[in-house]
């Protein structure tokens, strides 16, 4: 123990909320260190005296830890002990320390302590003002790619892993009366008030324990240390069933209508990878009736020369490290402040037994509780002064202090140099208003607190505590309680009994508006004064941007990259705005604010994706016969969400060999297709027929019971979007089929017209896609096969083409449709899906003698293409109407009702003679198969851009015809039969084809009528 402790040079002998009985070993940049449970990675590094945690992006300057929370810009680490568990860009101040943690800094070559790029930064830095890359790397033009490759080498902080993530992420939908963001004094008080009233409460806090500022404060509540009050409240809250407490959980996004997202670290805070079966992170999607933002405030550092040397910190971070982690991050402190509050850092430092060199206060006459306490301790206070520059290289060695004028913008006296290794600064506090801005609310400037507070919102949002500028614990507690009471009243819930804890009497003097300290030299020549550490944005850079005409704060931001880092300007934005405002001779609110967008802090992609990846990325839909297809070795095709059998290779067959076999078997004997995925809609009602007549292009008024008819469906623009066969089951009862991919869209289409245009029509639509298994047997022997399985008379006489009949097939009641998509004698057997597999197998039992051959979608496509049948979606693309497809036979312009699409297809552009029309394409060389997607031209020798006449939509090798068959669009093609089209391909070949009828096989349709 003592040995471990002695290694932790900055660890105080006592104090802090760490568990000194639980030492932990971790690795940083390849070296082992010790810390304690309860540490963050940052506190452990500071405890071990690690000064440099990174190198800056542009100038490669050494950087140390400056803050203690989400606002930390410098301590950005690569974490992970294995390749698969690498996490880039982890903020050390937010990462709990765990045993075996492996971390490394992300910039610096060869390492952060001895960085050679720093030299380049020193030399080249002068040539790299904001936007320098817009001004250079242009000449010669050909060199840009080379320049860019060097620019890219400097890109990024950490790296992505090379192996797939082994962790599981989860999502959970939550609902509550009240979501409280932040479990500091305001949040806890609000939670207690609401919970006691019986409200459904969620309270989330980004830290690993509740308490917020109270955990690093020496204040007392009810006369006891504040942390004890926290403990009591947490205990009481955990007793309510309807209170969900989420520590380690950042509320990262505030979306419309009070929808918020919370990223909960379940195991990744404590482990390199989640223990087996456990969840690494859980993303809560919360719909809250009311929200209380009790998000606190971030302290602003001051901007002065060389304010990025390790050892320069934000004042309250110093207090936090001392009080919460038992770490004093240095020996000799200079505190620079414009307000009383920051004095606490010096008091804590002093009380930890370290030396406070001086408190430098920009105000002439500070007074207040903390100021008095400092005086009592004999700490030297330099008033009306400022730290204008820090000295040192890899660690602060001293500071220059100068007297300031009243406005704090000029040095008015001699400079004093003091030795110190730590400079803590405070320019006041910036309320954490990020979430309130996410839904478009504009923050408002508050001169009293020198910060932006939440503005008008359309959300059911309340705010409490430091976010409103109520920085004192007493006010925060009171605001928390009253916000909860407001919420309860809005929710219609009775109030609870609540008593505010007693707080210490603290008086604070007025703070001074100070952001950027003057230097004896003008800003452009002074040592670099950093505003945004992560992006190396300096005060000089902002002034230069303004001088060049970038006057909007958005321009300044974009030109300098201020606020673009992973900390999103939590520390720097207000200072930057103040500097720009001064430059532009405006006030800060006139200069405007930048808009905060989600996320508040970065969120792991895996957590956002949740379980919806890999196998669960999108549902796979299966038919009732799927297992059979799998067993038969089918290859599958994705059609919408369905997995459809594509083809069934046997042995070592190539795809083409399998297709040839399937095609020949079907035309020569009988093949079978699982067509269950076709959309099916049951339509009932006395106006069903009328409705069909309105949504299809052809006539339905006289379709007799027992008959089927093919129909085309168009949009109001006249363009085909779906097709299928609809059958008349009874006088007022129809079964519509749609394409596999179009099923949902067609049903919506019918519903929207019924509900919004023609509610007077008595008709109902019900999807029965899943209810029926559909298997099509096709080929000359299909009747013989069917006869083996049914007693029903399926002869030509009793069951003609386009008839449907109810019968029993393999013992199962079935509806059998004599329709054909292959041009062969075909029967489409529909049975209740629970019996689909039974019938399918029975067909194979009986089909052996006919060499019953299963075929997939590809053979189906070939067989229909031989017949010139279209596939909506392959031979149409939303820009063709029925006449373009040569399907005028499917349009009845005489129908009394102006069916959907009729008017659209008669517009000026739709009746042009030179529209692209679907025709058959016969290649000159029958052995050549045109590639689908090939573009046709009339003159293959024309110069580029070559006028194109249309593309090939469907093209296959036809084993039956022993030649290729194709369909495609050709401008005016229907009038060009016999003419030539040329297809210049990428490989240099030009394929010549003749325009022909798309019906390559059995043009009289005799085969399907047998």
């Amino acid at each position: 123990m003592t040995q471990d402790l002695s290694k932790q040079s900055n660890r105080l002998l006592e104090g802090g909320r760490i568990d000194r009985a639980k030492p932990l070993t971790f690795t940083y940049n390849g070296k082992q260190y010790k810390g304690f449970e309860g540490d963050t990675l940052a506190s452990a590094l500071l405890a071990n005296g690690v000064d440099i945690v990174g190198r800056s992006f542009k100038y490669s300057r050494p950087r140390g830890i400056v803050a203690a929370g989400a606002e930390e810009p410098n301590a950005i680490m690569q974490i992970g002990s294995t390749e698969a568990t690498q996490i880039p860009n982890v903020r050390a101040t937010q990462q709990s320390l765990y045993a075996g943690l492996v971390a490394s800094s992300t910039n610096g070559w060869p390492n952060v302590d001895m960085d050679l790029m720093g030299l380049v930064g020193k030399v080249g830095g002068k040539m790299m003002p904001p936007g320098f890359y817009y001004k250079t790397f242009m000449y010669p033009k050909s060199m840009w790619e080379t320049y860019e490759s060097y620019i890219r080498k400097a890109a990024g902080l950490g790296r992505a892993p090379k192996e797939n993530d082994p962790d599981i992420y989860d999502k959970m939908n939550q609902h509550c009366d009240l979501l409280i963001v932040g479990a500091g004094p305001a949040g806890l008080m609000a939670a207690l008030t609401a919970a006691r009233a019986g409200a459904r409460v969620i309270i989330a806090d980004e830290q690993n324990e509740f308490g917020g500022s109270l955990l690093s404060s020496k204040e007392t509540l009810n006369g006891k240390p504040a942390a004890e009050w926290v403990k009591d409240v947490v205990q009481e809250l955990s007793g309510f069933d309807d209170v969900l407490m989420l520590p380690n959980s950042q509320v990262n996004g505030y979306h419309d209508h009070n929808f918020l997202t919370i990223q909960q670290h379940c195991t990744d805070q404590f482990a390199d990878r989640a223990p087996n079966g456990q969840i690494a992170q859980r993303l809560h999607r919360v719909r809250a009736k009311w929200v209380i933002l009790a998000t606190g405030a971030h302290e602003r550092p001051l901007v002065y020369g060389n304010n990025d040397i390790p050892g320069c910190m934000v004042a309250n971070a110093v207090s936090t490290y001392i009080n919460r982690y038992g770490v004093a991050p240095g020996k000799d402190l200079v505190l620079m402040t414009s307000n009383d509050n920051a004095y606490r850092a010096a008091l804590d430092w002093h009380d930890a037994g370290r030396r406070v060199v001086a408190i430098v206060d920009s105000r002439k006459n500070p007074k207040g509780t903390f100021v008095e306490a400092a005086r009592e301790r004999g700490i030297s206070i330099l008033v009306g002064s400022g730290v204008i520059e820090a000295h040192g290289n890899k660690r602060v060695t001293g500071v220059s202090i100068a007297p300031l004028n009243d406005a704090g913008d000029a040095v008015v006296g001699p400079i004093v140099k003091m030795a110190a290794d730590t400079v803590a600064t405070s320019g006041g506090w910036s309320p954490v208003i990020h979430l309130s801005c996410h839904t478009g609310s504009r923050p408002v400037w508050n001169d009293d607190i020198l910060g932006f507070t939440p503005g008008k919102t359309y959300q059911k949002q309340l705010t409490a505590g430091a976010i409103n500028g109520a920085f004192a614990t007493k006010e925060a507690l009171s605001e928390g309680a009253s916000a909860a009471l407001d919420a309860l009243s809005n929710l219609g819930l009775a109030k609870s009994d609540i008593e505010l804890p007693e707080t210490e009497a603290i008086v604070e003097g007025k703070a001074m508006a100070l952001f950027h300290l003057p230097h004896t030299k003008p800003t452009s020549k002074a040592p670099k004064q950093f505003v945004d550490y992560q992006n190396d944005v300096t005060a000089a850079g902002i002034e230069l941007a303004c001088r060049e005409g970038f006057e909007s704060i958005e321009h300044v931001k974009r030109y300098t990259a201020m606020g673009f880092g992973t900390d999103q300007g939590k520390l720097g934005n207000i200072n930057g705005m103040a500097i720009a405002a001064k430059m532009l001779k405006q006030t800060i609110p006139q200069t405007g604010t930048t808009i905060f967008r989600p996320n508040y802090t970065p969120v792991t992609f895996g957590a956002i994706a949740g379980r919806d990846c890999g196998e669960l990325f999108d549902p796979k839909r299966y038919t009732a016969m799927h297992a059979w297809h799998v067993e038969r070795g089918a290859k599958f095709e994705d059609v919408g969400q369905w997995k459809r059998a594509w083809y069934y290779p046997k042995g070592n067959e190539t795809m083409q060999e399998a297709l040839n076999r399937e095609c020949l078997a079907t035309r020569e004997s009988v093949g079978i297709l699982d067509a269950s995925t076709l959309g099916k809609i049951d339509i009932q009602g006395k106006d069903a027929r009328e409705f069909l007549g309105r949504v299809y292009t052809n006539a339905w008024a006289k379709l007799p019971v027992g008959k089927c008819r093919y129909g085309l469906m168009c949009g109001e623009d006249g363009m085909v979007f779906d097709d299928g066969v609809t059958s008349c089951l009874a006088e007022n009862h129809f079964l519509m089929t749609t394409t596999t991919g179009g099923a949902a869209r067609v049903l919506s289409w019918l519903e929207i017209y019924h509900q919004t245009e023609w509610p007077e029509l008595e008709v109902y639509f019900t999807s029965v896609t899943d209810h029926w298994s559909t298997m099509t047997i096709s080929g000359p022997n299909s009747r013989k096969l069917l006869e083996k399985l049914t007693d029903y008379d399926v002869s030509k006489e009793n069951m003609a083409f386009m008839d449907w009949k109810p019968m029993t097939v393999a013992g199962v009641p079935a509806r059998v449709f004599r329709i054909s998509f292959t041009g062969e004698l075909s029967f489409e057997i529909n049975v209740q899906a629970n019996y689909g597999m039974h019938v399918w197998k029975a067909l194979f039992e009986q089909g052996e003698e006919f060499n019953l051959t299963p075929y997939g979608t590809e053979t189906m496509h070939i067989l229909r293409a031989e017949k010139g049948f279209i596939i909506a979606g392959q031979d149409t693309d939303g820009s063709v109407h029925p006449f373009d497809l040569g399907m005028s036979w499917a349009v009845s312009m005489q129908k009394p009702f102006s069916f959907i699409g009729k008017r659209g297809m008669q517009r000026e552009d739709c009746v042009r003679a030179d529209r692209k029309q679907l025709v058959g394409l016969k290649t000159l060389d029958p052995n050549v198969v045109l590639p689908e997607g090939a573009q046709g031209v009339l003159d293959p020798k024309a110069p580029i851009p070559m006028p194109m006449v249309g593309h090939v939509t469907s093209s296959y090798w036809s084993a039956n015809l022993k030649r290729s068959v194709a369909m495609g669009f050709v401008k005016g093609g229907l009038d060009k039969m016999g003419e030539k089209v040329f297809y210049p391909l990428a490989d240099g070949r030009v394929i010549e084809a003749e325009i022909c009828s798309p019906v390559f096989l059995d043009p009289k349709g005799e085969r399907q009528h047998v």
């Binding site: 999607r285 995925t677 006395k686 007022n732």
Partner: protein, 226 residues
């Protein structure tokens, strides 16, 4: 097949077609999760856990579409042995209706889902056809649907990962039914007891939802019942 005696149904000039869809009892249907072999899973899988799963398969499910007049409501009540739940998101269950146990779930102002034993679907359809007049539609969807019964002390947690509906007892009491999003598919969810829910899902999505439920239940332990 000649020994199976089946009457060919001839088409009469009727309003609607109602046909028997089930074969004789010796032909056993395969539910949408048949391939998952839940019998073995139930036997060999964990016997304890926070979420319990059971596929209530081969039930009779019918979609009734109607804007029922008072007269129609009376007829329907007589047919079902229980009145149609007219209040949104409500459901009723009667154990002793003329066709045995029947559950009726409100779906929309003109739609209900009726759940009966599998072999009762045709019977019920026939009775509706014979006795209910006026505009309505009744469609047998038994083959396209299955029922997942999920229960257990973590069942609500599992469901919270799957659906955005608020399942808190104050918002979702026993008897409430909603049609909603379930993972990337949909489901009709009915709370049948404090820790017990009925999910009506579509056949083609059943495998996906089964995988989903296994995954979402992993941290609580999943017990499969047959």
């Amino acid at each position: 097949m000649s020994d199976v005696k089946v009457e060919a149904v001839e088409l009469a000039p009727v309003d609607k077609l109602v046909t028997k869809q089930l074969p004789a009892a010796e032909i056993v249907g395969e539910s949408p999760l048949h391939h998952a072999d839940l019998i073995s899973v139930a036997e060999h899988g964990p016997q304890e856990g926070g979420v319990h799963f059971h596929e209530r398969k081969l039930m009779g499910l019918l979609t009734l579409r109607c804007l029922p007049s008072a007269e129609q409501q009376e007829v329907i009540k007589a047919l079902l042995g229980v009145a149609l739940p007219m209040q949104p998101l409500t459901s009723v269950t009667a154990d002793d209706s003329p066709i045995g146990k029947v559950s009726v779930r409100w779906v929309s102002p003109d739609e209900w889902l009726i759940i009966v034993a599998g072999e009762q679907a045709f019977e019920l359809e026939t009775r509706f056809f014979e006795q209910l007049t006026g505009h309505y539609s009744l469609v047998n969807i038994s083959g396209g649907t299955t029922i997942f019964d999920v229960s257990g002390r973590h069942v609500v947690d599992m469901l919270k990962k799957s659906t955005p509906v608020d399942l808190h007892g104050s918002e979702f009491p026993v008897g409430k039914v909603v049609s909603t999003v379930f993972a990337k598919s949909g489901a009709m969810i009915c709370r049948v007891a404090e820790d017990q829910f009925e999910l009506v899902v579509r056949r083609s999505f059943a495998d996906y939802l089964w995988l989903w439920i296994q995954d979402a239940s992993r941290e609580y332990g999943l017990v499969v019942h047959h």
